[in-house]
Amino acid sequence: MADDTELKGKGLLKRFFETISNLSLFSIRFFKEVLLPPYEFAEIKKHMYELGVKTLPIVSVTGFIIGLVLAMQSQPVLKRFGAESFLPAMVSLSVVRELGPVLTALIFAGRVSSGIGAELGSMRVTEQIDAMEVSAIHPYRFLVVTRILACTLILPILTLYVNFLAVIGGFIAMTLTESINLQFYLNSVADSLKFVDILPALGKTFIFGFIVGSVGAYKGYNAENGTVGVGQASTSSVVLASLLILLVDMVLVKVTVLLWPT
């Protein structure tokens, strides 16, 4: 028994390291392949459109609610310090610097990483990927590069949109308790935001998008065990992508602070 679990543990650890290595190689391959023709612009555009449409409703709701809730929660605290006028700045800063990018990326991971994992997984188990391969077409270039690129490009756009909605949500929360006009609110938001707040955070979302795309594609592309494998690819890609997003964020936050001290 003990032997058995030990073996299993060893296998898990081995699998863990294997995943790390394979995923890294898989992601690095992207940078080689993305530059090589044929360039599937139509596919990229199609995927971007699909990903956008697919995630827009959920991220919109989330963005709005983040802003709303954040403002409502912070208001009493700021009031205690007599710093209520700081609320627009606080909402916009927390959303733009951290909450917007990370929460959008996590939702995006849940929605898209699983989708890509399932899609490519089922293509793998129904031999569609093999079919491409025997047709002398790079499945990686056609299926993976386009998806990763689409994710990388669409997430920053979604994040900007979420940021905007969150700021609006914050405004609505404020109007519930006091009379503040939109012009004034937006002015103080604009005053509080510097490029240092916006640009690194936005740069981060490209990386998050890349993570979501490549993890989903990796899991799907290497799916095994038929339809069960498809399900596994789908769920495990969400878990892995979310985890990586948080880990990378942890590093990037520090890097941002180091490179652009406030």
Partner: protein
Amino acid sequence: MAKQKSAVKLGIFIFIGFAILVAAVYLIGGKSSLFTSTFTIKTYFHDIQGLKSGTVVRLSGIDAGSVSDIQIVPDNTGRVEVTLNLVTDVRRFIRIDTKASIETDGLVGNKVIVLKLGSESAPLVKDFGYIEGEEPLGFGAIIAETQGILKYTKLMTKNLADITNKVNNGEGTLGKILNDNELYNSATGLTKRADSSLRSVTNELKGITGLFDTLGTGVRTVVRNIDRVIGNVDSIIVSVKAGKGVIGQMFVNGSKLDTSITNTIQNVEKITSDTRLAASRLADNMEALKHNWLFKSYFEKRGYWEAGKAEADIDAKTKELNDKIRLLDQKIEQLKKIDNKK
């Protein structure tokens, strides 16, 4: 199989690489001065208020380094040794009379160490040298102070309440003044009393002048003589002790003149103190009346208050009294001198 093995190896490599990256980034973040050359100085505090290693050190508002170590000094003083790592750029500003203090940064209460520049003439601090730590005004102290103020305010409030109460119940002087329609009369009475004091003062002064007249030219001569011989201290002392000389002859023990001077002094002193009392009472009460809206509106309602005239009257009286008091004081001094010299 071989491929799998190398995949595991690569995985481990990447994992460790990432871990090192995280550690490096966080280390650099924590000790922002990792890549700049630094020097170390120390300071002591009795209470570091939860200061932590890594706390920023500011010099004129510039981040100049960080706290690298905090240690309780192993003796009974309870002092804490705080080691500061400062960037070498600021070295030329840190002199031995530089002072370190713990201050609160921002609204939320981050602690920072603030260095106050010393004098230009003082020598620079050496590596691992000490600078003085100014004890922070602890929260406890602030509370105590606040409580003191509160206590005082409470007392004041209570007194005020008492006064108001008395006023309302018609007790006390002010109360009487307020509730009694005879106020104007009282005020006039007060002025009258001041007048009588003045009269008696004048009388006494007349008396004193009379005394001086009685003393006649003799006293003046004595004073003049004293003035003349003042240069020769020794001879005066000798003369007085021997009961001889001009002064000695003039003031003989038990003489009528002697008693008269002593009595006069006592009399004048008494009058002076009475006058002083009357003057200050008058002034106090009138001041209170003048400035208190309560009284003011009360008087105005009853048409009693011809403010300007009364005030001017009272002021003039007070001034006159004070002048007389000063005059009396001078006379007393003179008399005492004479009395002492007998």
